[in-house]
């Protein structure tokens, strides 16, 4: 009995005529259709390069809020992780939770005290938590104020005062970065 190289075959009980014909090399046209993947791989490679270029290792520290329009600045620095105080025309928030309303801040205080009690207390708590979690590090006292560009300084100074009293001496303002040498921006 001659010895053949092993190959795929169907049992007689299988009634697949087309498959039987293919395996028996009786078919006419090959059913093998190669898939052209060059364009797909090109597209994926371009996508990966674009996403790698816009990748940020620090992640998203500030989220754009729809009721806060940030001012532009040319001399900006990268964001650091710090408590974020959001100031819109209606409300003041600390890390997303409301601590005061604009109406309260625009009123002249009868006692002359600028401190916003709730904001101050929460900032002190955050400061104490930081010191507990990072006992070997020096507290840098940075807070980020993400304020709408039309907010008046009267509101901001009360927020800044509360930050200072709570130990956050270095207040940073969130801005939209603008390329140096770009347009002069809208006039004010």
């Amino acid at each position: 009995m001659p010895i053949h190289a092993p190959h795929a075959h169907l049992y007689d009980s299988v009634k697949l005529e087309v498959a039987k014909a293919k395996l028996g090399h009786e078919g006419r046209k090959s059913l093998y259709a190669p898939l052209n993947l060059v364009a797909y791989i090109d597209m994926m490679t371009m996508l990966v390069i674009f996403l790698l270029m816009s990748f940020s290792a620090t992640g998203e520290i500030l989220f754009v809020q729809k009721n806060i329009v940030l001012p532009d600045a040319q001399n900006w620095t990268e964001l650091e992780r710090a408590p974020v105080i959001g100031v819109s025309k209606d409300v003041v928030t600390l890390d997303g939770s409301q601590v005061a309303t604009a109406d309260e801040l625009m009123k002249d205080s009868s006692t002359g005290d600028f401190k916003i009690a709730e904001l101050h207390d929460k900032l002190v708590t955050l400061k104490n938590n930081y010191k507990l979690l990072h006992p070997s590090e020096e507290f840098n006292g940075i807070a980020i104020i993400q304020s709408d560009k039309n907010v008046e300084f009267k509101m901001l100074k009360k927020i800044m005062y509360s930050c200072a009293v709570a130990g956050y001496q270095n207040v940073n303002f969130a801005v939209t970065p603008k390329a140096k040498g770009g347009g002069s921006g809208p006039a004010m």
């Binding site: 190669p34 898939l35 993947l37 060059v38 797909y40 791989i41 994926m44 490679t45 996508l47 990966v48 996403l51 790698l52 816009s54 990748f55 940020s56 992640g59 998203e60 520290i61 500030l62 989220f63 754009v64 940030l70 001012p71 532009d72 600045a73 040319q74 001399n75 900006w76 620095t77 990268e78 964001l79 650091e80 980020i144 304020s147 709408d148 560009k149 039309n150 907010v151 008046e152 300084f153 009267k154 901001l156 100074k157 800044m160 930050c163 200072a164 009293v165 001496q169 270095n170 207040v171 940073n172 303002f173 969130a174 801005v175 939209t176 970065p177 921006g185 006039a187 004010m188």
Partner: protein, 158 residues
């Protein structure tokens, strides 16, 4: 999924076609695209540094040295640049806009005469909008005054 490389072999010998297996490469690309899309940061935001007069900093036991004081007072009529004892008003321009260009030029002149001076105070009235203050601080930073303090105009002592 493979790509074959034709060798043009017609001699009837062993074909030299080589199949590149692209499955791992496509898997890698797909995983990278998924990861990068999830972690992508679409809104690029930055910060502008400012300081405040800290409590206790001004009230030290030792009397403060006589230092050159530089303050930009921002009010409704424009800027008032205070350099020690000299005051120079920089009113709004004809269109009623703050004159940042002139402020920048004046600050640059002061920087040229006081090269070691790095700190400046921006003192604001209550009604001044945040955008004006940011542009004022930005102008000061452009004029090489990196240590900016934002204070109330009442606390500037002018």
């Amino acid at each position: 999924m493979s790509v074959s490389v034709e060798s043009g072999n017609k001699g009837g010998k062993k074909p030299l076609n080589a199949d590149l297996n692209l499955v791992p490469y496509i898997d890698l690309l797909t995983c990278m695209v998924a990861f990068l899309l999830i972690t992508a940061v679409w809104s690029q935001l930055a910060r502008l540094e400012a300081h405040q007069k800290g409590q206790g900093q001004a009230g030290e036991d030792t009397p403060p040295e006589k230092v050159f004081k530089l303050v930009v007072l921002v009010n409704d009529s424009g800027f008032n640049l205070v350099a020690d004892q000299d005051q120079q008003p920089i009113p709004k321009n004809g269109a009623g806009m703050y004159d940042y260009e002139k402020l920048g030029n004046e600050l640059k002149k002061l920087k040229d005469t006081h090269a070691d001076k790095t700190d400046i105070q921006v003192a604001s009235d209550d009604t001044i909008k945040f955008e004006v203050l940011v542009r004022t601080m930005d102008t000061a930073l452009s004029s090489r005054f990196p240590d900016i303090s934002l204070i109330d105009s009442g606390g500037a002592g002018i």
